[in-house]
Amino acid sequence: MKLSEIRDLLGCELLTGEEDLGLDIREVVASDGMSEILAFAKSGELMITGLTNIQSIRTADIAGVNAVIYCRNKRPDKRVVEFARQKKIPVLVTPMVMFDICGILYARGLKGVS
């Protein structure tokens, strides 16, 4: 599924990464625990988290995930968004809660990694 479709499905606001909306996403890793992301991501996934500090983007970079969505309207500060821009990781925010996000994406055929 294209990142742009995911944006529309989840009512996301794009904070950075306009040029990456055409990315094809097949797998998702969702957690507030950064070690969970590091343990399960195989690279290329969409990462969903409620953690908006700088470590969320560092984790995304280290784990090699393709895009980050923050749930429940949690907004990272400008410095975090700027860091994501440098690392070329698109960042989106949705008002939806983690459970709903995962349910919607799963119903559309996306899979979790394990």
Partner: protein, 143 residues
Amino acid sequence: MELLRESYEIQGRNFDKAGEVSGEIKVVLKDLGIEAAHLRRLVIVAFEAEMNVVMYARKGVMTLIVTDDDICLETTDEGPGIPDIELALQEGYSTASDEMREMGFGFGMGLPNMKKNSDEFRVESEVGKGTSVFTKIRLPADG
């Protein structure tokens, strides 16, 4: 043949900078042409090790040695040490504070993650003095 040897200092308790060293190591290894899967495993180990130093220790040093055959990473800290290493290596076991968990870490997966991503892995620790974590990742013979 040794291709690179570099040491990096890590400041304990500095959550703002936590992860910078691993980010730098990722760039260095990429520049050396290390293949993506090996690079990824090594930087995951580095990041977890760096976070552990930041969370628990006063300071630490990370030494990266790259040869034709393998990548070695040794992280030594001045910190509280680990009383029971076997227990610390069990997934889910954690001594993290709420503050650490709010940072997204301390769910008892750091050391297991490091072990899982290493070809050789060793932890040495002395309570009250500090901890050393040694990792080796073997590189394919064809470079």
